[in-house]
Symmetry: C2
Subunit: 373 residues, 2 copies
């Protein structure tokens, strides 16, 4: 019987095991059609669609988020990929300088199939190295003139790390003095506000343009907002049309974005404290460390000095014994090391604390055994 279980478990993927767990810990909900149905449950069906960027549904939401971000204007986009390429293109065209600067692990550098070059012919300068965030010194030491710098808060690909707010202020002042536009990749901006103890507007006033996402910590279906002054957003609408993003109807994303913004923005502080709590439990396990050690948002990365397949086996055993799902995937770093990302939301808040401790305790025990083998 136990042997049969083990055989079944071996066949199951980690994702399947995670989805079957009673207490999946990451995210806010399963990524399925119910996300949409829930958001539309109380919506009046007679409400007119937006039409190619016009209409109350889109204009009201744009005004609401512009106001929240403390910017004169905002434009809803189907994706951040589109919004951010466009922001950099506008600043580059304005300065007549194709050079822009960002982090080597910036979304535009590693996740967009080189669209920034293939479509916009922009030339990125990479600031800082892969292991840390961009600091004021990196910018001061630039030897080439750039039209724009993109900063991502927090830097997702290194676990969600942040530079101190005072350094952000110094970077902003430095760039303004030199006429360098500063763009905020705020894919997870909402998520860092509790750590910074700032309003979104207090962060955004340091930047000339801002992108925020509605499906990261907020857990919407898709969609992004690009904010800035009126002339910037007017130009961004022309580029949105060019990119094929000016859809006749964007309301499926707008209504759901607005719904989850209202539902989950007030919980960002809870998600942040949950991440600190869970990271501490992970760090108490042998062979494991989180990056950052103490999270500054709802996310962190878990690095394990354990091969990917081995870690997956351990996790499946933990899920089976405790009913707690820790991660849906593990990625290989090299033959001996692996990692995964943790991003917390409603699911963690809804899980009994003793279940979380039980699961991490069991994981710790299994990792300790591993060493002895």
């Amino acid at each position: 019987m136990a042997e049969q279980m083990t055989e079944q478990m071996a066949k199951q993927t980690l994702l399947e095991a995670f989805n079957a767990a009673s207490y999946p810990l990451t995210g806010s909900s399963r990524w399925n059609v119910n996300q949409l149905l829930e958001a539309f449950r109380s919506i009046d069906g007679e409400q007119d669609s937006d039409i190619y960027g016009n209409g109350a549904i889109i204009e009201n939401f744009q005004a609401k988020i512009a106001s929240y971000l403390g910017k004169p204007s905002a434009v809803f986009f189907p994706s951040g990929t589109m919004a951010q390429q466009i922001a950099l293109r506008i600043w580059s065209d304005g300065a007549g300088n194709k050079k822009i600067a960002y982090h080597p692990l910036c979304h535009l550098e590693i996740h967009e199939q080189n669209g920034l070059h293939e479509l916009h012919h922009l030339e990125p300068l990479l600031l800082a190295d892969k292991s840390r965030t961009i600091g004021l010194e990196d910018i001061q030491q630039m030897t080439e003139k750039v039209s724009c710098i993109l900063l991502e808060l927090p830097q997702r690909e290194i676990g969600g790390t942040l530079l101190p707010f005072s350094e952000l202020e110094a970077i902003s002042a430095y760039c303004r003095e030199r006429g360098i536009k500063l763009h905020l990749d705020g894919a997870r901006l909402f998520e860092v506000l509790p750590y910074y103890k700032k309003t979104a507007a207090e962060v955004c006033r340091l930047f000339d343009s801002v992108y925020v996402s509605f499906y990261k910590g907020l857990g919407g279906i898709a969609g992004a907002m690009l904010a800035g002054d009126e002339s910037f957003t007017a130009e961004s609408k022309v580029w949105k049309r060019r990119h094929g993003g000016d859809l006749i109807s964007l309301y499926p994303y707008i209504i759901s974005s607005d719904y989850y913004f209202e539902q989950r923005l007030p919980k960002m502080e809870q998600y942040y404290h949950a991440a600190i709590e869970l990271a501490e439990l992970y760090n108490s396990c042998q062979h494991i460390e989180t990056r950052p050690e103490v999270p500054v948002s709802n996310m962190f990365h878990v690095h394990a000095a354990v091969p990917k397949e081995r870690l997956e086996q351990l996790f499946k055993a933990v899920y089976a014994e405790t009913g707690v799902g820790l991660t849906r995937y593990v990625r290989e770093v090299d033959a001996d090391n692996s990692y995964f990302e943790v991003s917390l939301g409603d699911r963690y808040l809804g899980t009994p604390k003793d279940k979380v401790r039980e699961a991490l305790g069991l994981l710790g025990a299994k990792l300790a055994e591993l060493k002895q083998q």
Copy 2:
């Protein structure tokens, strides 16, 4: 009292009057959130979302439409603007030739803010003049070598006109012999199949790549499909990512596209006959002619030798007296002439014939009076 009515009417926009009419004749439904709610009414909420182009929801629909179009493969896009620029870019890159050819009133030429040039640096050659469709001769007489030709069936901006199927076959053979790729702008392909008496696959086999839309005659919310051979669609996915169209979740558009495809594809023949019927009624009015005179799809344009404001007044009076809404807008051609587009769907089919005749009869009477003034 009558004066009061007139004053009210004068203040009302034509769109408001159209929306207030008991029998609006164009389109299939009001463009509002009910379109989405209806499509999702019978959908299982537990169905997993597509994730960045993967998952059963998107893959099954792509396979279904590829098969319907008789192509090896298809990719769902948020918009036709994105899909078509990408198709032309792929063919252009493949041939190492930035020249492509299309009609002067092609969507890419007049509705996309010059995206094809600004993003893809392609150089369009305009074939035929604005008043007619591209024919074989136009292509034979090209003096420059192009990588690709785009044909739109039907040519929307001139009322939805078509060239004979035999000429389409001749164009296809001519282009294949010369290694020129042929791309179909099939925004309204479903709508012309009853006239051609062909299956979609019979039309599409004349083309190397095909775009179809789910919100024109079908009345979905938004969304498009790009079809072709496997290597073409694989490349188009890379470009979709670059354009910012590879959204984490596209299912709000996919599910609604599939729903309205099933609902309305079988009615295209009825819509087509409705257009012939209504065009005949318009053509019986003085000062009015439709283009084409006899429609070949569910659409046609109505041209009036009447100034825009005057025509709007007449329409508002007809809507008020009969309850029938004929058009939501009128566009100025010049000081003496105006026009609008008619596209028929479920609403026309659901309107009693005597109401239609009553409205067009009254319009005819008012137009005849106009002449006598």
